[in-house]
């Protein structure tokens, strides 16, 4: 039985994946380290901040056992700077994603005595959610992959931890509209074989526009074939559409 879902990840699945991102919390009570499937967590010891997966942080926040530190890029001034970059400097392009850290070795528990040696051939490029892009150590000038869903979740669950939640909301909406407009605009240039550069586009934005872009590209694929039909005999286009 076929799954009645469109191909690719749906927005809700994206939001679910986003909950694996690490965020920094300031615990308000002690908690021993937990052995989770995603790896062990640090023991919580107020007032020392600790990185926790977002889902656990939201759970603790709802029970008022922790405060979530907003990542640096989610501050009003950083967002304003990114928005300015998007509108004035970047033109067609999107603001670049955070720099990737240097690749690490695959084995997580490296023998202590050989750790000084240069990395061996088996290296691994990390990707979200294993990048610490939403903790307080994240760069302030780049939107990470899960920026949209993460900020929505934080604004919904922990608005009191923001300096100025209303202006953050406003800036996020502006950013989202600017970037969505760019994505739509990119579709205009789509032609057979053409592409748009999607560097820096967030996961949720892709998930949202996947159906639309996919539809457009699919439609465009038929257009050249329609043209050739017309060249051959004409009038075939209508029947082609009919058979679709």
């Amino acid at each position: 039985m076929a799954l009645p879902l469109p191909p690719g990840l749906t927005p809700s699945e994206m939001a679910f994946l986003c909950e694996m991102e690490l965020v920094t919390v300031i615990p308000r009570q002690r908690l021993e380290g937990l052995e989770l499937l995603g790896g062990p967590t640090q023991p919580l010891n107020p007032p020392f901040p600790a990185p926790l997966p977002l889902w656990l942080a939201l759970l603790l926040k709802r029970q008022r056992r922790a405060n979530i530190r907003t990542p640096p890029w989610l501050r009003p001034d950083s967002l304003a700077a990114i928005l300015e970059f998007e509108t004035d400097t970047a033109k067609e392009a999107f603001s670049p994603p955070p720099n990737l850290p240097p690749p690490t070795t695959t084995s997580l528990h490296v023998d202590q005595t050989t750790a000084y040696l240069p990395a061996t051939a088996t290296t691994l490029e990390l990707s979200p959610p294993f990048l610490q892009n939403s903790t307080t150590s994240a760069p302030p000038d780049a939107l990470p992959y899960h920026w949209l869903e993460l900020s929505q979740l934080l604004l919904a669950a922990a608005p009191d931890d923001f300096e100025d939640p209303d202006s953050v909301r406003r800036l996020l909406r502006d950013l989202r509209e600017v970037r969505m407009a760019k994505l739509r605009k990119g579709i205009e240039v789509l032609d057979a074989g053409a592409g748009i550069k999607m560097n820096g586009v967030g996961g949720m934005e892709i998930a949202e526009s996947r159906a639309f872009i996919g539809g457009v590209v699919d439609g465009l694929r038929y257009v050249p074939s329609m043209r050739s039909m017309e060249l051959w005999g004409g009038g075939g286009g209508g029947s082609l559409c009919g058979t679709e």
Partner: protein, 836 residues
């Protein structure tokens, strides 16, 4: 009184006046087209300057010229030397409402019914600055004393503060809810009056009071209340700021004393609303003009019994609390400007000064720097200005006293670690990793709130505090408070300890110090309470209030203290160094074993820096943080004479400041988990404030080299990496020796003992990485590489074996051989430490 009859100066209508700064002339302007210049002290008819404008609304004066604004929108400059018009400075399309002149007479600010305020240069009228932030017409403008700031009272009820120190005027602050919303032509006034000491200004409020506001933080300070039943129409500080005259639209005129905000006199004989008041710069004369074209020059304005207020030096503005004197028990009263020869004044005035600044004005008699212990009288009691009084020798020339009072050693002020001064009506008494204690002043009492970071472990509490506790110390076990003695209520200084948890009834206790003794700094540890008092005693109590020890500190006056378990660290001012500043000395004692770990050793601070905070790290090592932003830890302090201060972090070299765009300083909180915990202060703040800022932590970075890590690519980047490795080696060795000290000198736990070999490995790891970097550089660096290998601490030979592997990997065969030799020598016990 001679001049109660008003002088009809102008045709009936709004009239304004201004004294020239030298007090020789008084200028009035009014409805008719003439300006009048009165000579001070003369009853002759005034000089009249006929002008073309009428309906004048404002006048300001320097000794040489006056600037007059009129309803036709012109701002005209007239010379007082020739009594004629010089030039029109600026012309506005709408009526002028107010003028203000900077103290140097260079700039005049013009408020008109137009939206923007123009600031015009009086010499060169082409130089104009525009203040454009306000949304409605402006009623008043007022330059502050320094001329660098201008207060604009707008008709939207907001006071806009502009800074003129830069090329472009900058809006510094909108002070909302202070003044009333008024029409530009209303009789009532919203004019800001800067206090002559420049630290505060007064503004008429909608509640018909006059509110003082501090310039530093825009917090409301004292207020002059209850004098007027209608809106205020004019205010003026006396030239020395000790008195304050206000007038209301209900034809009232009041005279206030600044220090106590007491109403000295209400004048009953006012016929018309007073629109402008000005004090004569030197004499006991105050003049005012009213809405009926009349001028009153009131000689003997201040009644006889209060006239001495006019003769004293510049008085401080009425602040809720003086931040400086509030933190430190032995702060000296800041020397008032213009009182350099205070000692040479007449005896009566000197006495008056003393009782004016009486016991509640931070008397420091008990905390004198020199103890007159043999009664020889070489240490005269200093008065509150920090000078010796001249009561006994009236009339002597001041010169004779200069040698005595010219130089005084600079004493480090005492502070309570973790506390902040008053800002507005609240302050932190203690701020650390356990929680924070803050107090709110409610005039008659304070309310104290204690909040914890760990809400599960401890419950926050809150109480009303009639004693006005001014110091607090908080840890996991309890909270310690202390209050100052009060002369009025005969209250002695109190120490109050409140444990957080008990298994019997709550065992909180209070103890009183002997009369006249005051707590200068105190600290609370897990096993004892330490209080340094103004008499130079160190008093140590158990947690249940049992006095354990009393001894006198060797270096006085005291500065601060800190404690950790049984270790007590006291800091005091020691001998005077070459720069006239005292050298701070610290002593560390173990209370239980009754032995001194360090005795009167120096607190290593370079010249010009002050101590910001002192505390013990979570591992129990003393740390200090200085005003240069350097965090230092004390190494080898358990052995007498071995202690040395080692820098852990220089916050000026932090990566986050490397861009040069951030202007921030750090307020130290604690050292824990091998991190420095602090609060980031932005915009030139010196102390954290409400709402409670977040704690931020930084890793240690010993200032070994100035290379910013990761600054550049390629060769530069590699060099930076080597520098970072070098730093990590020094840091690891420091941590290793700190822990080794701890393990050797105390009953260390197993975990602590296990830490030593672990840190040893850290050191060796840093060395191995350095070795690899050297090997990569080339064969010629072999000597240095061998030196690095010889520094390895590991005695099992495993690390040297790894070093050999590295050498082999980079095909440095000679180096490899040497390392193998070294390993062999070590293995057979030929320890080569001495050879090196």
């Amino acid at each position: 009184m001679a001049a109660l009859r008003g002088r009809p100066a102008h045709s009936p209508g709004p009239t304004y006046l201004a004294y020239t700064p030298n007090g020789k002339k008084l200028i009035t302007v009014g409805l008719n087209s003439a300006l009048r210049v009165f000579q001070h002290g003369s009853t002759n008819e005034p000089t009249i300057i006929d002008v073309v404008t009428d309906g004048h609304t404002a006048v300001v004066a320097t000794n040489d010229f006056i600037v007059v604004g009129a309803e036709d929108g012109s701002v005209t400059k007239y010379s007082l030397l020739t009594n004629s018009m010089e030039e029109i400075l600026v012309r506005s399309s709408l009526p002028i409402r107010d003028l203000s002149l900077s103290k140097d007479g260079e700039w005049v600010a013009v408020a008109s019914d137009e939206l923007e305020v123009k600031v015009v240069n009086t010499r060169d009228m082409t130089r104009i600055m525009h203040l454009r932030e306000q949304s409605r017409p402006v009623k008043h403008v007022a330059f502050d004393i320094s001329g660098s700031m201008i207060a604009v009272s707008c008709t939207d009820g907001i006071v806009y503060m502009y800074s003129l120190s830069s090329e472009q005027p900058q809006l510094v602050k909108r002070v909302d809810g202070l003044i009333k919303t008024l029409e530009t032509d209303a009789e009532a006034s919203a004019k800001i009056a800067w206090h002559p000491d420049g630290r505060a200004f007064a503004a008429p409020t909608s509640t018909k009071d006059i509110q003082c506001v501090a310039r530093s933080d825009w917090a409301r300070q004292k207020a002059f209340t209850g004098g007027h039943r209608a809106d205020i129409s004019a205010v003026a500080w006396s030239p020395n700021g000790a008195l304050f005259a206000t007038a209301g639209v209900d034809k009232s005129l009041c005279l206030w004393e600044t220090r106590s905000q007491r109403l000295l006199k209400t004048f009953e004989d006012i016929q018309n609303t007073i629109l402008a008041i000005d004090w004569h710069p030197t004499d006991n004369v105050c003049s005012y003009t009213n809405s009926n074209g009349e001028l009153f020059i009131r000689e003997g304005f201040v009644p006889g019994e209060h006239a001495k207020h006019l003769r004293i030096a510049l008085q401080p503005s009425p602040m809720n609390s003086d931040p400086l004197s509030e933190v430190s028990g032995n702060a000296r009263k800041p020397l008032a400007k213009g009182d350099k020869h205070g000692g040479s004044r007449g005896g009566a005035e000197e006495n008056y000064l003393d009782d004016l600044l009486g016991p509640d004005a931070m008397s420091e008699d008990e905390a004198g720097f020199i103890e007159d212990d043999d009664g020889a009288g070489y240490a005269e009691e200093v008065n509150n200005f920090g000078k010796r009084s001249a009561n006994g020798i009236p009339g002597r020339p001041a010169k004779r006293f200069e040698p005595y009072s010219a130089w005084q050693p600079q004493v480090h002020e005492a502070f309570q670690p973790g506390s902040t001064p008053w800002r507005g009506d609240r302050r932190y008494l203690c701020l650390n990793l356990t929680g924070f204690v803050w107090t709110v002043s409610q005039d008659t009492h304070h309310t104290v709130t204690v909040e914890f970071h760990d809400r599960q472990e401890h419950r926050d509490f809150h109480f009303t505090d009639p004693y006005k506790y001014d110091k607090a110390s908080l840890n996991e076990k309890g909270t310690l408070f202390s209050c100052r003695p009060s002369i009025q209520s005969q209250q002695r200084a109190i120490l109050y300890y409140r444990p957080h948890e008990t298994w019997t009834t709550r065992t909180e206790w209070k103890t009183q110090l002997p009369p006249g003794e005051e707590v200068i700094s105190m600290s609370l540890s897990e096993s004892c309470i330490v209080a340094m008092t103004s008499k130079g005693y160190v008093r140590i109590y158990s947690l249940f209030g049992l006095p354990l020890k009393v001894y006198r500190q060797k270096s006085m006056p005291a500065v601060a203290c800190a404690s950790f378990r049984d270790y007590v660290m006291t800091i005091g001012n020691g001998a005077i160094g070459g720069d006239g500043t005292t050298q701070m000395r610290y002593t560390i004692d173990n209370i239980r074993r009754d032995e001194s770990c360090q005795n009167e050793d120096a607190v290593a601070l370079p010249g010009g820096t002050q101590l910001r905070n002192v505390f013990f790290s979570d591992k129990g090592d003393p740390c200090i943080y200085d005003t240069d932003g350097v965090l230092l830890i004390l190494l080898h302090w358990r052995t007498p004479g071995q202690a040395k201060w080692v820098p852990l972090l220089d916050t000026k070299t932090l990566d986050r400041l490397a861009s040069g765009r951030k202007d921030e300083t750090y307020w130290p909180v604690a050292v824990a988990n091998n991190k420095f915990h602090c609060i980031i202060l932005k915009g030139g703040d010196a102390y954290p404030h409400f709402p409670r800022p977040l704690l931020v932590d930084f890793d240690f970075k010993i200032p070994v080299s100035s290379m910013a890590a990761g600054a550049a690519e390629g060769d530069e980047g590699e060099l930076a990496q080597v520098k970072a490795l070098e730093e990590s080696y020094v840091r690891a060795s420091l941590q290793h020796s700190l822990v080794q000290d701890l393990v050797e000198n105390t009953n260390a736990t197993n975990a602590q003992k296990a830490e030593v070999p672990m840190l040893e490995r850290e050191v060796d790891k840093a060395l191995l990485q350095l070795l690899a970097a050297e090997c990569r550089e080339g064969e010629e660096r072999g000597m240095k590489a061998l030196e690095i290998a010889a520094l390895m601490r590991d005695r099992s030979g495993k690390m040297l074996e790894a070093a050999g592997k590295i050498a082999a990997r980079f095909q440095r065969d000679i180096l490899g051989e040497k390392i193998t030799q070294l390993a062999e020598r070590r293995l057979v016990g030929l320890v080569d430490d001495e050879d090196m």
